[in-house]
Amino acid sequence: MEIFAGSMVAGLLIGLLFALIALGLTIIFGMMDIVNFAHGEFLMLGMYTALLTSQATGLDPLLTLPVAGAVGYLLGIACYYGFVKFLLRGPMVAQLLGTFGLMLLLRNLALLFFGSEDRTIHSGILVNRAFDLGMGVVVPATKLAGAVLAVVAFAVVWLLMHRTRTGKAMVATALNRQGARYMGISTERMNGLAWGIGGATVMIAGALLVNFWSVTPYVGLLFTMIAFAIVALGGFGSIPGAFFAGLIVGLITEIPGFWDFFTYLTGSRWMAGVSMTPFKYTCVYLAYFLIMLLRPRGLFGWKN
């Protein structure tokens, strides 16, 4: 039973962070129908930003969140006005490959500057602390804080999008681009803003992630694919969809734990012989594939 509850909690906690990672991707997609392959690379840069800032200044990694957010915002805006703007005029192929080029560029710039070795955070108030939630479930403080702050960030973005004037303009642009333009909304500015918010949220997520996940320049692709799966599951462009889909994908990555639980329950020899751990993320890809085939609009279809 402990295994089950432990996997459940671990899945939900990491799922909240996944949701925050996917938030930027879904906002950008909803806004301009563009798939950003470099999304995971933004996350990687967020991880490095937090790590290096805390190492350089001696600050606690948690306090580097605003730095990561600010860098992410600027990077997102720069990417939009310097590059993505030009992609939007071209065909879809060019958009796919263009953001892929951005991904290669960012990844290998990181390789050039930060080197290829694994890096982890060793200090900080959260590191090496854990909470006992009862029933034998022990949660590392880093993951718990990551999840809680992810929810906070999610809520802030949600409020920004639905309570402020600019946010409402963004939602309107995502719903009907032409209409928004007639209303005097500068869709160009909204696009830039979407990239800014997307960059900021994903880099904050990176700063949270780096507390318990080691960083290399190659870490991005995995999270890009996870974010794609979440966005597909939640419906392309849907913010609440991304939230719930993040939780589901978090649970999917805990499949090895559930597998062990059911192995124990059924006492099946066959199940005990199969290790699911290498297929942790394969399940995510497979889930993406199946969702696309069965529910192309996502589980909670939003943009009709």
């Binding site: 030009f86 796919l96 490959l97 080029g101 990844r107 390789l111 050039l112 394969t282 890809y285």
Partner: protein, 335 residues
């Protein structure tokens, strides 16, 4: 017979194109006679391989407009089939390659049957997801060496072994891949003017209209996918014999899939020369950037930085590739 004749019929192309193509081809033919470094030789072989991968992608992605970003999985299937059967059963290349192609086609029908219902980004990402699933399986599958991959024991055969393609002199590999290249080029020349080629271009234009003209869209896509997969998987088998050391990371990765698509994109998707031009620019650039900046100057990663920048530049400025520029200039001249 008519088909064979159509393979050699280049008469619809401008004479200038044919002259340049002829000159380049003859330059490549005489290349091994002149003194060259082994690095140059391997670059040329790489060029042929990637031109062929690109031609394969170009059928489905260029003429058909279906942006597949998972073709590397079929490369992996070809490479692994050849490597496994050669290591375990001493199977000759000429037997294992067709087997690999058949396996790849079977797998492509499984994948294609489901993904061809999707469009645009959804299609592209679904192909990526599927290729990553296959790669993950190969990473843990003990039979194919898991993540450490396989190594073909070349000492078991005496060079030159034309059955198993084990040569110590790269010139043999060169001749073989050149022959593949010429066959591939002739086939594509037939394909682009064939019924299937026309059907595909119509599908790319508008699927509804294509259906109204009696085209079975799903089946046409699947057939073309099989063509693309044949190219990639056959050359994948060759890749196994040539490099002799294969792992999932360098035969099935997403980067490789995108690199394949990029050949055609850069040169000009949906044109005969596109993938060849693309490979002709990208492959030498890639290998020499790596050699000069990566290995000599010690700047690991800077080659791919420049590479990424080039991709970004092309997709933002001229998404129709080099061939798109050529055509625009020609059109302007005619007008």
């Amino acid at each position: 017979m008519e088909k064979l004749k159509a393979c050699f019929d280049f008469s619809d192309l401008p004479r200038l194109d044919l002259t340049i193509a002829g000159l380049v081809l003859s330059a490549l033919l005489v290349f091994p006679i002149f003194p060259h470094s082994s690095y140059a030789m391997s670059t040329v072989i790489q060029f042929f391989m990637f031109a062929l991968y690109g031609m394969g992608w170009n059928t489905i992605g260029g003429y058909g407009g279906q942006v597949d970003l998972g073709l590397a999985q079929y490369l992996g299937i070809g490479a692994y089939t050849t490597a496994v059967s050669m290591i375990r059963w001493n199977t000759p290349f000429w037997v294992s390659m067709p087997i690999g192609v058949v396996l790849a086609i079977i797998w492509c029908f499984v994948v294609g049957y489901s993904v061809f219902r999707l469009k645009g980004h959804y299609f592209a990402i679904a192909t990526i997801a599927m290729s990553l699933v296959l790669k993950d399986v190969f990473e843990v599958w003990k039979f194919v060496g898991a993540s450490r991959g396989l190594e073909i024991p070349s000492t078991r055969f005496t060079s030159p072994d034309f059955l198993h393609l084990v040569f110590t002199n790269d010139t043999y590999y060169y001749c073989l891949i050149l022959a593949f290249f010429v066959i591939g080029l002739l086939y594509i020349n037939w394909f682009r003017k064939s019924r299937l080629g026309f059907q595909l271009r119509s599908i790319k234009d508008n699927e509804e209209v294509a259906r109204s003209l009696g085209i079975n869209v799903q089946w046409a896509k699947l057939k073309t996918y099989a063509v693309a997969v044949t190219f990639v998987s056959a050359v994948g088998s060759f890749h196994a014999c040539y490099v002799k050391n294969i792992e999932p990371e360098d035969t099935m990765s997403l980067d490789l899939s995108i690199l394949i698509a990029l050949m055609a994109m850069l040169g000009g998707a949906g044109s005969l020369w596109g993938p060849i031009i693309g490979a002709g620019i990208l492959i030498p650039l890639k290998s020499y950037l790596k050699e000069w900046l990566g290995a000599r100057a010690g700047l690991v990663g800077i080659d791919v930085v420049i590479y990424g920048a080039i991709i970004m530049f092309i997709s933002a400025v001229e998404p129709r590739g080099v061939w798109g520029i050529v055509q625009r200039v020609r059109r302007r001249k005619r007008a």
